[in-house]
């Protein structure tokens, strides 16, 4: 029997099986997403799939339920602000690490990339206590600091990777042609690492928009993020409005992705 198995040559139908498996896999991957998008258009009152009749009532509901709109705006603002702050901090760091060798540089690089690896729950909890202790309690500022920490890692990761692929002799060529360090950065380095910065920022924004664990500890009546609101809505009310807001959030993410694709192409994203 084992020798039979060893010499088994599946032939064409073996590959067909694999193709079928892969197709089913992708159905598996998209099923829940498709279902949610579908349910958002249900005319019924409860969450049910399949359902009968379509309507936009749940999108209307989003408008009416203030926490959704408020938290969505808060989340967007937070994501963009923390990404911007991350760029200001991470790009110089990438410029330093991209041309440094040695143990110290490696350690620093690992340290700056660590926030992504640590469970967001632990980071969020620790920061809550710390920030409260130093006087920045639960507030937008606290959220901003927390999200920036994580965003720095995403921006630095892609920027560093792209910067390392930029030949050092380009900077030297610019210098010989009369460019100071600053002008070399503006005219040569920045244009070349821009795709990396954009890709990293996109990641940072997308992660920030969806980051429940990180934001959970900082919710107040006034300032809270979309995932936190969605969670409490799910646990308390559970109706298709959740599907509608999820679809809106997904649409925003896709829009952001398309913007990056149009300006810099998605190849930067796949170089990880």
């Amino acid at each position: 029997m084992s020798t039979l198995l060893l010499r088994w040559h599946p032939g064409r139908w073996g590959w067909h099986l694999l193709t079928l498996y892969t197709a089913l896999f992708f159905v598996f991957v998209f099923a829940p997403i498709a279902v949610v998008v579908a349910v958002s258009f249900t005319a019924e009152q409860g969450v049910q799939f399949p359902f009968h009749g379509t309507s936009l009532q749940w999108y209307v509901r989003l408008w009416e339920y203030k926490p959704f709109v408020d938290s969505l705006l808060t989340s967007l603002y937070l994501a963009i602000a923390s990404a911007a702050a991350a760029i200001l901090l991470a790009v110089p760091a990438a410029l330093y690490l991209g041309r440094s060798t040695g143990a110290v540089a490696t350690v620093i690089a690992s340290f700056l990339l660590a926030p992504i690896a640590i469970p967001a729950l632990v980071v969020g909890m620790s920061l809550l206590y710390f920030l409260s202790a130093i006087g920045i309690g639960v507030s937008f500022t606290a959220l901003f600091i927390t999200h920036t920490i994580v965003s720095i890692s995403y921006v630095m990761r892609t920027t560093l990777s792209v910067y390392r692929s930029v030949s050092q002799s380009l900077g030297e060529a610019a210098a010989v042609l009369g460019a100071s360090s600053w002008r070399t950065f503006i005219h040569v380095t920045l244009p070349l690492i821009a795709p990396g910065i954009f890709a990293g920022s996109l990641f940072a924004i997308l992660v920030s928009l969806d980051n429940l664990a990180l934001s959970y500890f900082f919710g107040t009546a006034n300032v809270t993020t979309l995932p936190v609101v969605m969670l409490s809505y799910l646990q308390n009310q559970f109706d298709p409005a959740i599907a509608a807001i999820s679809t809106v959030q997904m649409a925003i993410s896709i829009a952001l992705l398309l913007i990056v694709e149009k300006t810099y192409g998605l190849r930067a994203l796949t170089t990880q």
């Binding site: 002799s169 060529a173 210098a175 042609l177 009369g178």
Partner: protein, 412 residues
């Protein structure tokens, strides 16, 4: 420091002199350059030639300003630039892989230096146009770099470097990335442009043919020191050390012993090597060699051992008429036909050596020899060059001499 800033691009070029005086450089404990002294005359193109690790690239980078010397100075027309940053030296440089800015067009690349010097836009565009004409890429101004061939990128890199009227042009293995046919064309192109503009230039290369084709003078380097500086034919015909002799072209090396000195005549006997190891036992052969020399080198004592070099094309098959010609008999081991020449390896039992003889291919002359044929190889004393040991201090003065080897001096 104004004179070193990229000058206005219009107007006749004033050629400048570049001097390296006693330059030394160490990297993490190992010595990269030792007391390098070099003067490049205005409008001259010199090549730094040597194997990898010899210090030629380090020298170029010190001139460019990417590193600073530990000792010594780098001066342009007398002005000390040794510790200026690269963007304040007013130089031009062509990099090994061109280093063209991938996000800029051809025109933007060429105009970059002028932009950094804050020239007005219309001046920049007229200068860029002038350059595009000069390198014959008139219609390519708006093209992206990636769309150009290797040779075209080369020319753009050159244009970018010279449009700013640099005081010195640096070339770092500029032709390494091109294939052979393109390379020869570009050698002439670069040389032509450099001469017509009169820009003092320093080129780094490991290709001795390239160095000989393009340079006014060649600087042969090894292990951080300059072994010899001279015009191409000087360095080729009168190599100073064994390293130089073997690095430029092929050389036949014979071991000799100094029998006696009579005035300006050195009488050697050619030694015979028994065996093929690195230091085989040597005995005297029957052959004698007489060299004329202006100076007897200090390191050579009566009875001492020296090496002489003879170029393969200076050996003749068959006897020579001259009275002081040396004639050797041997057997052909190998024959290689290279189109323009025949190359033979001939074993000479009386001196225990295998000599390489190159003969111009000419069908009208005598028939070629085959392996196994017995032949005579002869040369006259003029063809022999006395080599100096690598570690002997140079007798040349510190600044800017060609270091002439110690055999018959030919008028330069």
């Amino acid at each position: 420091m104004q004179t070193n800033h990229p000058a206005s691009a219009v107007g006749p070029v004033v050629s400048k002199q570049l001097t390296l005086d006693g330059v030394s450089k160490r990297f993490k404990g190992s010595v990269a350059l030792q007391q390098v002294c070099l003067t490049v005359q205005p409008g001259e193109l010199i090549s730094l030639l040597g194997p990898s690790g010899c210090g030629k690239t380090t020298t170029l980078r010190l001139i460019a300003g990417f590193d600073f010397p530990d000792e010594g100075t780098v001066r342009i027309d007398g002005e000390d630039i040794s510790h200026l940053p690269p963007n304040k030296r007013g130089l031009g440089m062509v990099f090994q892989n061109y280093s063209l800015f991938p996000h800029l067009t051809v025109a933007q690349n060429i105009g970059f230096g002028l932009k950094m010097a804050n020239h007005p836009k219309d001046r920049i565009s007229s200068e860029v146009k002038r350059m595009l004409d000069m390198i014959r890429l008139n219609e390519y101004g708006d093209r992206n770099i990636a769309q150009l061939s290797g040779g075209q990128q080369q020319r753009v890199a050159l244009a970018r470097a010279i449009v700013t009227n640099p005081s010195v042009l640096l070339l770092d293995e500029p032709l390494g990335a091109l294939d052979k046919n393109l390379r020869e064309g570009m050698q002439f192109e670069i040389r032509r442009l450099q001469q017509s503009l009169g820009i003092t230039s320093v080129m780094v290369t490991h290709d001795q043919e390239e160095a000989m084709t393009m340079s006014d003078r060649i600087v042969v380097m090894s292990h951080g020191r300059i072994l010899q500086i001279g015009r191409p034919h000087e360095v080729y015909d009168q190599p100073r050390t064994r390293f130089v002799a073997e690095f430029l072209g092929t050389a036949n090396i014979l071991t000799c012993q100094l029998e006696q000195v009579q005035g300006n005549r050195l009488d050697f006997s050619i030694l015979r090597r028994d065996g093929t190891s690195d230091n085989p036992p040597v005995r005297q052969s029957a052959h004698r060699l007489r060299l004329d020399s202006d100076i007897v080198p200090a390191w050579l004592k009566q009875g001492g051992i020296a090496e002489i070099a003879i170029r393969p094309e200076k050996l003749r098959l068959g006897p020579l008429a001259a009275t002081d010609a040396i004639t050797l008999t041997g057997t052909v081991q190998q024959h290689v036909f290279r189109g323009s020449q025949h190359s033979y390896k001939i074993e000479i039992p009386t001196i225990g050596a295998t000599l390489t003889v190159n003969q111009a291919a000419d069908s009208r002359k005598s028939a070629t020899h085959q392996p196994g044929d017995g032949v005579t190889v002869s040369f006259d004393a003029d063809a022999a060059v006395l080599l100096h040991p690598d570690d002997v201090a140079e007798p040349a003065t510190r600044i800017g001499n060609s270091l002439s080897p110690l055999t018959q001096r030919k008028a330069a």
